[in-house]
């Protein structure tokens, strides 16, 4: 839709003094959009100018509306010399391009200068009037909403998952253009910042088009990255999950851009051409550039017992990885051939991936990947959303609605890449979790034939994604969840990494009714894998009756502690998706701890957030594996690339074994939110894997790791024993800390009926050498650095919990946000020993805890480590997260009980998250038992409410209230989590994604490197807050610092830094009082205070 942009410059405040003689400024503003420029009058001699300008009007096609930011430039008028720039403001118009409501941007914006930072503020009002559609051939996607939030946004319902969307845009980097030699640093920075803004807009628009193609209206889990390739340009990449969202309050599902369906095919035609360009790269093109290409699947792990000999293999032959690779036994080129070779009709292959045997012949599988079968995929698209289906599913009228939905819902097997960038899914979506799959590829940037074109990079990513898809199939799965793509660049080397969790999913679930999925009926479970899949599928379709679902969730809440476990948990998720006999790699399988029927792996690694269905015990724990390997300095591209790719498998193996060891030390058996970051530097190769460990009830109880080694002398033997003792102590301590101590008996005793099972379980605890389940740590040398570092891993200080997931597993409930923080650390690092590298991280964590010591007890959530190796011998770590206060566990119980029985049905779905975690606490179990004996709700309310409320009041509520009061003023809350604890998201106002550049040529004067960075990060956050506030919002969720590139030149007293941040602007209101608190912000913006 073309549109008219209207801008009014109201006033400024706190401008810098530009005229030394008068100590004042003669300011005016240039407003630019596209080629048009308007100017305000000059407001003479004032640091707080009042312009009250007329409405400046710009006209723009929607392509430019989406791509280009509105640019305001504040200048100081000089009669004789050139006018001096004060600073600029960029405004992304995308949040205004929705049809929802007449939106307006209005407020005080910091005037930002790349050389001086924030210099005063400007008060503006911006409006956009959209016209109705004229031309359908444009590549526009107005109205497609973007969410960084990697789950269904609060208040929305997902109707259809349309599939994975990705796009890639390339441009030259202005810093590497010839003109940069003659222009000022400011001009160069501004050119760059404008370009970033434009690329980001263009990328979003193109992705939006793809989503519209698929029939969706939103992108969730949107993740955008810039690869600063240097000479070869800037690559903007975006991935996300195209979905169709509706707000249950709205009767009409919002149709994307109001386009009528008949035009869609035309646009599709255009787009399929596009697809052609991107994907029809011959497979030979890639391999010629690719120096190495390998993959490694991380879970379930190979037991290190069998690999003891190969801990230090010769660099030429990495047998460990080879073994895991050979487990897959797929040459990586085959999927490409497969895609273009067999264009058979999709319906035939829907069930083909069910048995792992068939997976071994991938040629039979056809996906909607290539242009050849594009036509066959149009039917699902053609049937676009109708009003009836939307309202039908709201009512949740059983299987009818479900079938209707599944008609629009593209089958998982039809998706080209069945990848989901979300990390949290509606209940019932995930059927089985397989494990983590990842693929990496080392490429050379200087070998790109025409760097200005995106083809080569597209081919690289296609290769990686295909590989991921293949790994996924090898695990007997057909979908990848929590999918991420990352790169690391060092000179001409680029390493592309993709990671995700292989899973079996059920895309045709009905979100309203499937609040829970009952466990499979225990009696009728044949051990035939092929039948199993069939049965699973059926189950999900059948269980649509809202009644039964609600009833069983009721049971889940109140019958907890009865010997069937809690029914609304679903242990199915943990069961292996492949047949035990045809496991893709050596894996220890045991019987599920909950249903006692199916096989589960001994550990489960995932990249997703904790699903509500998986029952966990105790608290979650943060674990991190850190590996640093020296690398010879670059001896030219190819040999360097070869060295890196030879090194990567070892690095990954080490990461994996560290994770395993730490997991065992915690006494846990599952990982959520696993994030592996590989960074390549001049002389170092660094890998950091971060995750949240949990104890999954379905998985077997991890045993205490046992130390084994060839003790040649008595002394050595005693040292080994000493280590063993310390390990056992550590495990015990960890269990205690994470509230896992009572689980040992708790898991076994209620099921004493199944005698043989429990025998097996108890024997696990036995440390006899014959037990196959015992985890053994191999010690070659009692001073082994690995062991030392393992034991050295410090505990968090008292009162701190740390997690890297966005959802909180276990018995931790958050009360309110206290502080979102960014820590940037950079120092010279000469790798002397392993421990010195690990110390960096341990120290950083300690540092953060010390800084936040006044907020304890608290939980540090959404912790994100990002490691860069910017220069030779330098390491930079960016750590972000949010510190939240903890709520007493009893709070949620209290909340539940205040609902009346009728409301409980509704409440169930809302509180499953908290109850799933909290109900495991023993005090809680006690309450539950008490309840079940008492028998009636009313009785319980009278009985237990009093002590509960008292507890609540005393501990947490006071604190959270204090904080709430504070937030009712015009503060803007930032958080990496998808929601703000204690607050309810009223509305999403738009996706925010911005790149800031800051440079200084007077580094010493502003407090050195530290002062520069501290101010810059604060300025970035200030800009973010101002943008959120100007939209009428008071929070930004899913905040992420995607990039922080710092280049220093202390000898020249100069420094430059680039920061990219993103998130979703929201309006939140306190959960107690549902009032919207945008008032102070509005007032502020309408009547500028002078």
């Amino acid at each position: 839709m073309p549109g008219k942009v209207k801008v009014r410059v109201v006033a400024g405040r706190g401008l810098p003094v530009m005229d030394r003689s008068t100590d004042l400024t003669d300011a005016y503003v240039e407003v630019r959009f596209g080629p048009d420029v308007f100017k305000t009058d000059i407001c003479k001699k004032s640091l707080n100018p009042q312009w009250n300008s007329e409405w400046f009007k710009f006209e723009g096609e929607d392509e430019s509306l989406q791509d280009e930011p509105l640019e305001l430039r504040v200048l100081d008028h000089d009669t004789y010399s050139a006018n001096d720039a004060i600073g600029k403001i960029y405004i992304d118009l995308n949040p205004l391009l929705t049809k929802d409501m007449p939106k307006v941007i209005s407020g005080w914006f910091p005037i930002y200068d790349t050389m001086h930072g924030i210099r005063g503020e400007l008060n503006l009002i911006v409006k956009v009037d959209l016209f109705s559609d004229v031309n359908k051939f444009r590549q526009s996607s107005c109205g497609i909403q973007f969410f960084s939030t990697a789950e269904v946004p609060s208040g929305y319902r997902m109707q259809v998952i349309n599939g994975f969307v990705e796009e890639l845009v390339v441009n030259d980097d202005p810093e590497y253009q010839w003109i940069d030699k003659i222009r000022t640093p400011r001009a160069s920075n501004e050119a760059r910042q404008r370009l970033f803004s434009k690329l980001s807009g263009e990328l979003q628009r193109k992705i939006g088009v793809k989503v519209a193609e698929l029939g969706g209206n939103a992108v969730i889990g949107y993740c955008q990255c810039f690869d600063l390739e240097g000479e070869s340009g800037i690559v903007a990449r975006g991935i996300g999950t195209g979905v169709t969202l509706i707000r249950p309050s709205q009767l009409m599902p919002p149709s994307p851009q109001g386009a009528s369906p008949q035009f869609k095919d035309l646009r599709h035609a255009v787009n399929s051409l596009h697809f052609f360009n991107h994907h029809h790269t011959p497979p030979t093109h890639g391999p010629s550039l690719s120096r190495s290409h390998h993959h490694l699947t991380m879970t379930p792990p190979h037991t290190p017992v069998k690999k003891t000999a190969s801990i230090s293999p010769p660099p030429s032959a990495p047998p460990l990885v080879q073994s895991s690779q050979s487990a897959f036994s797929f040459p990586f080129s085959s999927p490409l051939i497969e895609d273009s070779a067999t264009p058979s009709s999709p319906p035939n292959i829907i069930r083909c991936a069910t048995s792992p045997v068939k997976v071994n012949s991938p040629q039979t599988v056809v996906r909607r990947s290539s242009e050849s079968d594009a036509s066959s995929t149009t039917p699902p698209k053609g049937s676009s959303l109708t009003e009836s289906s939307g309202s039908g599913s709201v009512v949740g009228s059983g299987s009818k609605a479900a079938t209707k939905l599944s008609a629009q819902q593209p089958s998982i097997d039809l998706m080209e890449y069945p990848f989901f960038t979300m990390t949290s899914f509606p209940v019932g979506f995930i059927v089985h979790l397989g494990g983590v799959v990842s693929a990496k590829s080392v490429k050379l940037l200087d070998k790109i034939h025409n760097p200005e074109e995106p083809e080569t990079r597209d081919a690289w990513w296609t290769e990686i994604r295909t590989e991921i898809r293949t790994h996924c199939k090898a695990m007997g799965c057909h979908a990848v969840l929590g999918y991420t793509e990352k790169t690391t660049i060092c000179d001409e080397i680029i390493v592309l990494c993709a990671t995700g969790t292989a899973a079996r999913v059920n895309v045709t679930y009905d979100p309203t009714s499937s609040t829970r999925v009952p466990p499979p009926p225990p009696a009728v479970v044949p051990e035939k894998p092929s039948a199993e899949k069939e049965r699973d599928k059926k189950l999900y379709v059948d269980v649509n009756l809202a009644n039964s679902a609600a009833q069983s969730s009721l049971q889940a809440l109140y019958d907890h502690g009865s010997d069937d476990g809690s029914p609304h948990y679903n242990c199915l998720l943990c069961h292996v998706p492949y047949k035990p006999s045809s496991a893709p790699f050596p894996v220890n399988l045991s019987v599920c701890g909950i249903c006692r029927k199916r096989k589960v792996p001994d550990v489960l690694f995932t990249t997703i957030d904790p699903p509500t269905e998986i029952q966990t015990h105790g608290k979650g724990a943060f674990i991190q594996a850190r590996v640093c390997r020296p690398k010879a300095k670059s001896k030219g591209g190819e040999s360097n690339a070869r060295e890196i790719s030879d090194c990567l498998p070892f690095l990954e193996y080490e990461l994996h074994s560290q994770l395993m060891n730490k997991l065992k030390l915690c006494g846990m058996n599952g990982l959520y939110g696993l994030k592996i970051q590989i960074t390549v530097g001049e002389s170092l190769l660094v890998g950091v894997a971060t995750a949240t460990a949990v104890f999954m009830a379905a998985l077997p109880m991890p045993s205490v790791p046992r130390v084994s080694g060839q003790a040649t002398s008595e002394e050595e033997n005693s040292r080994l024993q000493e280590i063993q003792k310390r390990i056992s102590e550590k495990v015990l301590r960890n269990r205690e800390k994470h509230e896992l101590l009572h689980i040992d008996t708790g898991q076994i005793s209620p099921r004493s009926v199944v005698t043989d099972d429990s025998d097996e379980e108890t024997s696990e605890l036995d440390l006899s050498s014959g037990n196959k389940d015992t985890f053994v740590i191999e010690v070659d040398d009692a001073n082994d650095e690995n062991i030392i570092s393992l034991l050295k891993q410090s505990q968090l200080p008292e009162g701190f919990t740390m997690l890297n997931t966005h959802k909180i597993p276990g018995s931790t409930t958050l009360a309110s946000n206290l502080q979102m923080f960014t820590q940037i650390w950079r120092q010279e690092f000469v790798s002397t020993s392993k421990s010195s590298f690990i110390d960096i991280f341990e120290n950083l964590v300690k540092k953060i805890c010390y800084k936040l010591r006044r907020m304890s007890p608290c939980c540090l959530c959404g912790i994100d480590f990002s490691v860069d190796l910017p220069e030779d011998r330098e390491i930079q770590i960016t750590l972000t997260g949010v510190c939240c206060s903890l709520e007493n566990v009893s709070d949620s119980a209290f909340e539940l009980q205040t609902y009346s029985k009728e409301n409980l049905l509704k409440a169930v779905s809302a509180t499953t998250t908290s109850s799933s975690g909290t109900s495991e606490r023993d005090d809680m179990m006690f309450q539950m038992e008490e309840f079940s004996t008492e028998g009636s709700i009313g009785n319980l309310q009278g009985h237990t409410r009093v002590p509960l409320t008292r507890q609540t009041k005393e501990n947490s509520v006071r604190r959270s209230l204090e904080h709430t009061v504070q937030k009712h003023k015009n503060c803007v809350e930032l958080t990496p989590l998808p929601s703000i604890p204690g607050f309810k998201i009223e509305r999403y106002l738009g996706n925010y994604n911005f790149f800031f550049i800051r440079e200084s040529t007077s580094l010493r004067e502003i407090g050195g490197q530290g002062g520069f960075m501290q101010t810059f990060v604060a300025e970035v956050m200030a800009n973010v807050r101002a943008n959120v506030a100007s939209l009428g919002g008071n929070g930004l969720v899913s905040y992420r610092m995607n990039q922080c590139v710092l280049m220093c030149n202390p000898h020249k007293n100069q420094s430059q830094c680039l920061i990219n941040v993103s998130g979703d602007a929201v309006v939140v209101s306190s959960e107690e009082s549902f009032s919207i608190i945008v008032e102070p912000l509005r007032k502020n913006s309408d009547s500028p205070i002078t």
Binding site: I118, E121, T822, C971, V972, G1007, G1011, Q1014, V1017
Partner: protein, 362 residues
Amino acid sequence: MTAVDVFVGNYTLIDFELYDLWLNGYSAHDAALFLQKSGVLQKADVSMEIVYSDIQDQYRLFTSMEKLLKSPPKLIDQQIYQMETDMQKRVIERYYRFDSVVVREILGKKLSSRNRKDMEDVSEKTRIPIRSCRRQFDNLKRVFKTVEDMMGSLVENIKTHYLLSEDLARQYAAIVFIANNRFETGKKKLSHLTFEDFVFCANQMITNWSYSSVECKVHEDMDVDLDRRFLQDLRELKLIAEKEVLDDHKGQVISHLKQTMSKKSRQIVEESFKNWSKAIINIACGLNHSKDVRDIFLDLVEKVTEPCLSVGLTAPDMNTFLSAYKDTIVKMDVFRHQPHMLVVWDRYMKTLILCVLQIYHT
């Protein structure tokens, strides 16, 4: 080598313990040592490096905030540091708080950059770090420059431009008042007077003797100046020092004191009444000359408090005496032809009594 180690939160939180150390002129290193001594390291079980890094973060924040603190409304408006209003107020208040010993030294001096150099001596004398002394001096100078030419209430002006609490604003008002009238405070004879004494007296003068006082009908000028008209009227008080009035007054006072004062003290009063009364009236008449205005504290000490103290009159006795001295004039009909003079007398004496009692110590 380029080392970066910064922590930035969405909310800017001030560690007031460190803030105070910073305000007191401790360097980051000294502050770390201070914390080490106070046992923070042991309590939190952290290394010196971590504590030092935290201190540096806060110090950097303080330094970059100092620019805004020079004009506190800017700190309230700015968006870079998202802070609670309470915390902003506290930060400002603490920044403008001063050590009375330091300000006692600055008091009465011209607030010029020439005198800023003397801060080294002040620092040496008061044992307060030079950085802190300079900050206090600069604050005084800044506040003085902002409000010296402003119309209206001094305290209110300070409150609106520096967002200080009532109490602190009053102290600043007193300092500005003293500086503007160039009161002599530095003489050796006055060295026993504390800063608080001066603040009290100056505030009394602002409320009762300046243009903003209730009695002043013409609010044409500012708080910072004494009411000229009142000062002129004070000359009329010389009537009281005339021989026959003086004798009558003495008799009245002595008889008045019969019930309320011990015989011994009464005798002291009786002996020195004439001298004391003359001194009080002389000070009143002299206030018309700006030279004498400047010396008001000196005169009060030399002519009133010192003689009284030397003969052993206690503070309560002094209070009884001065009250009687003031009240008996009303009973006598000295001013039957100038009834307005009673008001002037009252206005003069009320403030004078309060001031004298405040400085009535050694």
